[in-house]
Amino acid sequence: MAKHETPLLSQLETGPWPSFVSDIKREAESRAKNEKGIDYQIPVDACEDLLGVLELSYKHGRTHWKHGGIVGVFGYGGGVIGRYCDQPEQFPGVAHFHTMRVSQPAGKFYTTEYLKGLCDLWEFRGSGITNMHGSTGDIIFIGTTTPQLEEVFYELTHTFNQDLGGSGSNLRTPSDCVGQARCEFACYDTQAICHELTNYYQDELHRPAFPYKFKFKFDGCPNCCVASIARSDLSFIGTWRDEIRIDAEAVKAYVGGELKPNGGAHAGRDWGAFDIQKEVVDLCPTKCMRYADGKLEINNKECTRCMHCINVMPRALRIGNDRGVTILAGAKAPILDGAQMGTLIVPFMKAEAPYDDIKEKVIEPIWDWWMEEGKNRERLGELMKRQGLQRMIEVLGVDPDPRMVQEPRSNPYIFWKEDEVEGGWKRDINEFRKYHKR
């Protein structure tokens, strides 16, 4: 018997897609039954009250959660987000209901052994409700009380060799695409760099010292499956400088219909026979390809590595061998000042362990600048907008490169500096007036 009536939520228990309502009810039931005889460290009816407060929101059309207070674990400034219900008498099981962020492994592969351990821990010391995973990438434990925070952290570190993730004005838990672990397009080892930088910058991740949040994301190729270009202050996108490798036989097999274009991604509709001219050559944004007499040629010099041809014919076309990353900076969601995509700041850099160039020539100079000049709650992208891409180029100590812009400025409002102008700016009006009367 459910503790709260949930007539509105129950309408979300039909239809084909998995129902989160059914799932929470299942957990509520499991806790109520407690077949394993667990000594729950937070209220046993937490899930029932969670459904109850959500039903109330469905009725009121408004949330019933309040701002978090300052809660956390000793020595860390992030990883825990305080959360309180605004109807604690009605829903005591979720009156205090804090979130913990658990740093996910790069690539998000898991053993069941590990996952089951986390489940046991969170069932025991929390609500049993999670996000697999949160928007930034962490495993999210939803709902526990303040006294349990240190306990969960202690067990995570001691039993699971596992740390918390980031929150607040610090480095947020970096994340990556599946990469070379299971993708032929990956131009570098996204998991390796993601893990290395996460661990190398643990201090920045746990102890907020930045003006605002900061995100790294690692995309193995320009397909951008982790959306780094839209979501991270520093976006690492795999690329290559040499030639696309062509398997001429496989090209023939695509043209002949033996291989399905785009790995069979369009199999749900009859699009007609594959037409390499129309589907590959004509769609190339730089028109650097030619197909004639059964042979595909690529003018690699003019290629912008957009991935389309490779996506369409993965068995015939492969990424080049001289690989690295393109680095873009400053992406962010609309708050405060409108959304920004990442801006290209490094056309190419090798991405090999221990990543010294990336750390010392890119990340750390940028952090130094941002920590020095960034205002409170100013994202890197906003600082870039405020001080200009030129300033970023100075910070990086690189030469300006037309690859950093889509087009040169159309306004001629150039802010020359005094030392760039012959003779400087100091002039004598009286000297001028000798030649130019008032």
């Binding site: 979300l12 039909t14 239809g15 998995p18 989160f20 799932d23 299942r26 957990e27 899930c47 959500l54 929101s57 059309g61 408004r62 959660w65 000793f74 492994p105 592969f109 053993t111 069941t112 590990y114 986390l118 489940c119 969170w122 049993g128 999670t130 697999m132 949160g134 928007s135 930034t136 006294p147 240190e150 306990e151 969960v152 570190t157 596992q162 740390d163 993730g165 070379q180 672990a181 299971r182 032929e184 893990h195 996460t198 661990n199 397909n223 951008c224 982790v226 270009i229 979501r231 785009n262 790995g263 991604a265 369009h266 199999a267 957009c306 991935m307 369409v312 969601a333 708050i335 409170n376």
Partner: protein, 382 residues
């Protein structure tokens, strides 16, 4: 319940403390076939919706079965995932960026039993627990945020609209009939956790009423200068208020004409709540993408300025999305993303094709760059 210690001693927090160890190393969690073939993959193929094979230079094959997941999941559900992974996959499993669950097996004969097992599992109300799909030129899981289940600033729920939308789009989760993949995302407020601003279709929670001012508590609960500084349009200024009981308190005043309801002030100051049952609702955006394929990444555009919250199933939202998806399926060329289609035919045709009204709210009026979205050419379609 009795408090059970983990071993942590609150008197001596530094005793035996372990910190700064980061996440577990990814290699511990790689399935053997991944470990053996990492960096050697030659190509992949989608065998059927939700089922991929990756083939290695070594000749090894790795079969992946992708199933939809609720980002929000209970430990019971995760244990069931583990049970399946133990049974079929040697105890390994993976999650995707879009909250899908991937079960991997190393030979083709293991695929069908796995798929059958996954599709056979249903929740009490009849929903699939592990629907197989979300690959190729179809619709995969909706990236979303917390909504009313756990967030203090949302203008709509997250899991509810997502469930309702995925029910409506389920056939396209299970199929690959679209011109290209179509990414749907939801953010319950403008903070937009997740790349909602660059999605083919974005569902965005939005307030439409300026903050209420809890004058009596404002100065006690908030740092007034931070609340003032939080406003992107400088609509907030300090003020002094005389309460009903005659005492004068420090507070703020809001120039409501300049408010565009972003809620930043509320993020900084709990005494400025915006939420409202009829003020809040959903904005539909369309045409964004993050891939660099063919064209550069694009921001999503606002195509429906407001739909009221209609819990539990948000029918107007799901109808609108279905309309857009069907118009796109009908109109776009093979490989063309939704935004590329809209740009090719022109946004004037997009609104016709999707049978959406073009309203004045869709015209950008935020800051200088707004101007660049207006039409500065005589080239348009009647």
């Amino acid at each position: 319940m009795a408090f059970v210690s983990s071993g942590y001693n609150p008197e001596k927090p530094m005793e035996n403390r372990i910190t700064d160890i980061g996440p577990r190393h990814f290699e511990e969690f790689y399935p053997p076939a991944v470990k053996a073939n990492k960096g050697k993959w030659l190509y992949h193929e989608i065998l059927e919706p939700g089922v991929l094979v990756h083939v290695s230079e070594t000749g090894d094959e790795l079969y992946t079965v992708r199933t939809g997941g609720c980002r929000l999941m209970s430990v019971s559900h995760i244990r069931e995932i583990c049970e399946i992974a133990d049974k079929h996959c040697g105890g390994y499993v993976r999650f995707t960026t879009r909250n899908n669950i991937e079960f991997m097996v190393d030979s083709k004969d293991k695929v069908k039993p796995l798929v059958d097992d996954l599709m056979s599992r249903k929740q009490d109300g009849g929903c699939y627990k592990f629907p197989v799909g979300g690959t190729g030129a179809g619709i995969t899981n909706i990236i979303h945020t917390q909504g009313w289940i756990h967030c203090h600033t949302p203008a709509t729920d997250a899991s509810g609209p997502v469930k309702a939308t995925m029910d409506v789009l389920f056939d396209d989760f299970r199929d690959m009939r679209l011109p290209a993949h179509l990414r749907v995302s939801l953010a319950c407020c403008l903070n937009m956790c997740g790349a909602v601003h660059c999605s083919d279709i974005a569902i965005l929670g939005y307030h439409r009423k300026p903050p209420m001012l809890d004058h009596e508590y404002l100065d006690k609960m908030c740092e007034i200068p931070l609340a003032i500084a939080a406003c992107p349009t400088a609509a907030i200024k300090p003020s002094k208020i005389k309460l009903d009981n005659g005492t004068e308190v420090k507070s703020v005043a809001v120039n409501e004409e300049r408010c565009m309801f972003c809620g930043n002030c509320y993020t900084m100051c709990p005494s400025m709540p915006l939420a409202d049952d009829v003020g809040d609702g959903i904005v539909i955006m369309a045409g964004g993408k993050v891939s660099n394929r063919i064209t550069a990444p694009k921001f999503s555009k606002v195509v429906v300025a407001f739909i009221p919250n209609e819990p539990p199933r948000w029918p107007k939202v799901t109808d609108t999305i279905k309309q857009i998806v069907e118009a796109y399926a009908k109109g776009a060329n093979k490989y063309e993303r939704l935004g590329e289609w809209a740009e090719r035919i022109g946004w004037e045709r997009f609104f016709e094709a999707c049978e959406l009204d073009f309203t004045h709210h869709l015209i950008d009026d935020f800051r200088d760059p707004a101007y660049y979205t207006w039409r500065q050419t005589s080239n348009f379609k009647f």
